[in-house]
């Protein structure tokens, strides 16, 4: 866009008023902010000795998990909608016939490359059966790249680990159980 573009509206800088020209009122205003921070409670935590608190786990976008249904089976139906929505192309699914009579399709393998993931939450948004969710786990570490590719078992274990602290969101949001 050029400065001469008609869609650009140019605004003149306002002339300084009396308070600004006197300097002292603004000086006091700045010092007040500094003083307020001196006495306010500290937000910085000494991670990793101290763990930060997540404000609202429902909307926090941390490590993924694959939810289980009431019978403990993976909820995912391998529809590939998360892989389709994923802007980072970090989800790899291999689908096959499900071994259960009441289900048609299920993921034979389901892998998320957590290093490639940008934690945008689009997969959670796209999932029609609320199988993939982002937890509030925020410290994601590993010793190798391979270790950071989370397979189906690992994603299910994240669910087992977090299900008590963070129940499935879908129920509270009116989704599938």
């Amino acid at each position: 866009m050029k400065p001469t573009d008609p869609s650009v509206t140019w605004i003149e800088e306002k002339p300084l008023g009396l308070a600004e020209r006197l300097y002292l009122p603004l000086f006091v205003q700045g010092l007040t902010t500094t003083a307020r921070h001196l006495v306010s409670p500290k937000l910085t935590v000494s991670y990793p000795e101290q763990r930060p608190t997540v404000g609202n786990p429902l909307i926090y976008r941390g490590v993924h998990r694959l939810n289980r249904d009431q019978e403990g089976r993976v909820k995912c139906v391998a529809c590939f909608l998360c892989a389709t929505a994923c802007p980072a192309h970090c989800i790899d699914i291999v689908a096959t016939n499900s071994p259960w009579p009441d289900r048609e399709k299920y993921p034979e393998s389901f892998a998320i490359d957590e290093l490639r993931c940008i934690f945008c939450g689009m997969c959670e948004e796209a999932c029609p059966v609320d199988a993939i969710e982002l937890t509030s786990l925020l410290d994601l570490t590993g010793k190798s790249r391979e270790e950071m590719i989370f397979d189906k078992e690992k994603l299910l274990s994240v669910y087992d680990m977090t299900k008590d602290a963070e129940p499935m969101k879908s129920a509270s949001l009116g989704g599938t159980l």
Partner: protein, 541 residues
């Protein structure tokens, strides 16, 4: 010329054309949605999706009188003075009601349905349906029923258009599928003890406008929106059916017929449809190999040769050996065949050029609908014969070449194969055992490649670009759909480099050159339409 008025727009149709209102409206650019009508099948007008308002214009007075009720466009012939209204409120309401009725007992399991993304029920609901569901019925599951070795039926997804039933009655002539029960309980089924196992059975999956019929070979392999499609030609037999190769990241997932009125109309056979698996076979030959010192002793191991070195060393070895005999496989394209002949003649000006082995199984099989599966299991015999005729008018055959070699008239041979199945027996291969230099270029190991002093890999059908000439002299050009595995140069690339030509292999340049230099291929000079061109077009005129 008869004039048809579509949404107020007058279009002229041919005097002896027999079009229905869907086809006439399409000419005018108006798409009438339809499920049960298919140009290759009879008309039943049962889905009611194509209902439109029609009328006639009086030729003398110009007065238009409309029919009081909606009529199915598929069943209404378009004739002079026919008036078609495709977008009135009445028509729109009717479409929305049809969509609503179809979805009442549809499981709506789009997330796990293989058809999602190319489903007419989805598309039409999006375009013509209403956003809310008034019926409070959700209890439907998708019952699955096995109807044949290649096809599975999801009973509840079916909208009873009966395209598949009509296909088995009219095109394959086998009548395996039928409609059981009546009314809301209607279902597609097979007759007991007669599974859907005809040689065209895969077509019912393409015909199915919804996800009711699933292809077991493709089921759950890939979502359709991930795949790219390349217009291609089937290499399974000499019919040369037009196909789409659907692939993702150099892996083929399925082949689909491509409409071509001159060749395969709307269908392909199962042999062609599932005949791509050899492309991804782990046993395929990869990388160029040369037996040390060109030893004919089979125990001498093959040494890997870099492709850049193959080009000069192959020429040197063949030149040193002496009299050359070359078999040009009918699996090669016209361009590749022509370049191979040129390479061979540049190495040995007296080189014996012959058409390679032409595999045949059984007899041609024609179905009641007119579709024919050819016995000749190679796509380009006529093309290769035409090319060889440019160099040797007697067009020697494969058996003549074997005799030529057996009687000691050759010191070196270059045999191209690229056959998906085993093609040569030990006795025939033994004729080549004593040659000073034997170049074998094939997809898989064979008794012949075991004798080879140079073993080169070949490309599969979807990995080539060029022109094939089918049994009816129709030449079809196609582009490469997928890249060959690492370590494989398609034949065209090797010959292009051996001819000393620069840059990437360009089949169009070669094709133009072939067309200019021969009357047989003169029709290939210009742009070639997607449906191909008849090579005899100039010879007839």
């Amino acid at each position: 010329m008869p004039t048809v008025i579509v949404d107020g727009k007058e279009i002229e149709i041919g005097a002896d054309e027999r079009l229905n209102c869907i086809e006439a409206a399409r000419r005018a650019g108006a798409e009438i949605p339809h499920y049960c009508w298919h140009p290759g099948l009879s008309v039943v007008a049962s889905c009611r999706m194509c209902l439109v308002e029609t009328g006639t214009r009086d030729a003398a007075t110009g007065k238009i009188s409309m029919m009081p009720k909606l009529v199915p466009a598929c069943q209404t012939p378009a004739k002079d003075g026919t008036v078609i209204v495709t977008e009135s409120q009445l028509v729109k309401d009717s479409r929305a009601r049809v969509e609503e009725a179809l979805l009442i007992d549809h499981p709506i399991d789009c997330p796990i349905c293989d058809k999602a993304g190319e489903c007419l029920l989805q598309d039409y609901h999006f375009q013509h349906g209403q956003s809310e569901r008034r019926a409070d019925l959700h209890a439907f599951t998708s019952r699955r029923r096995d109807v044949g070795p290649t096809v599975t039926l999801f009973v509840d997804r079916c909208i009873m258009c009966t395209r598949c039933v009509r296909f088995t009655r009219e095109v394959s002539g086998t009548s395996e599928l039928m409609v059981t029960s009546r009314g809301a309980k209607e279902e597609i089924d097979v007759f007991p003890g007669h599974p859907l196992d005809n040689k065209l059975s895969g077509n019912v999956v393409d015909l199915c406008p919804v996800g009711a019929l699933g292809d077991k070979d493709f089921l759950y392999q890939q979502r359709v929106w991930f795949m790219k499609r390349e217009a291609n030609v089937c290499g399974g037999c000499s019919a040369g059916c037009s196909i789409h190769t659907e692939h993702n990241q150099d892996t083929i997932y399925r082949l689909k017929p491509r409409e071509n009125p001159h060749v395969n109309t709307w269908w392909i056979c199962d042999e062609g449809r599932y005949g791509w698996h050899h492309i991804h076979d782990a046993a395929r030959l990869v990388g160029a190999g040369r037996r040390a010192n060109l030893s004919t002793d089979r125990s001498t191991p093959l040494e890997a040769v870099e492709w850049a070195d193959v080009v000069p060393r192959l020429r040197t070895d063949l030149k040193a050996a002496g009299r050359l005999a070359v078999a040009i496989s009918p699996m090669l394209t016209v361009e590749e065949a022509w370049m191979l002949c040129a390479v061979a003649r540049s190495i040995d000006p007296q080189a014996f050029l012959a058409v390679g082995h032409v595999p045949r199984t059984g007899d041609d099989e024609t179905f009641p609908g007119g579709f024919t599966i050819r016995a000749e299991k190679c796509p380009n015999r006529l093309g290769v014969e035409g090319v060889v005729a440019l160099f040797d008018p007697s067009v020697p055959s494969w058996s003549q070449l074997v005799e030529h070699v057996r009687s000691g008239h050759a010191d070196a041979a270059w045999i191209t194969g690229a056959y998906p199945a085993a093609w040569i027996d030990d006795d025939t291969a033994a004729a080549f055992a004593d040659l000073k230099c034997l170049v074998v270029q094939d997809l898989f190991d064979s008794p012949l490649s075991a004798l080879a002093t140079w073993r080169l890999p070949a490309a599969g059908f979807a990995e080539r670009a060029g022109t094939w000439v089918n049994v009816a002299h129709r030449a079809q050009t196609f582009e490469q759909a997928v890249r060959p595995p690492a370590g494989v140069w398609p034949e065209g690339r090797l010959y292009w480099n051996m001819l000393g030509r620069r840059g990437l292999y360009d089949p169009t340049a070669v094709r133009r050159q072939v067309a200019e230099s021969s009357a047989t291929f003169a029709a290939l000079a210009g742009e070639i339409p997607a449906t191909g061109v008849d090579l005899r077009i100039h010879q007839l005129a």
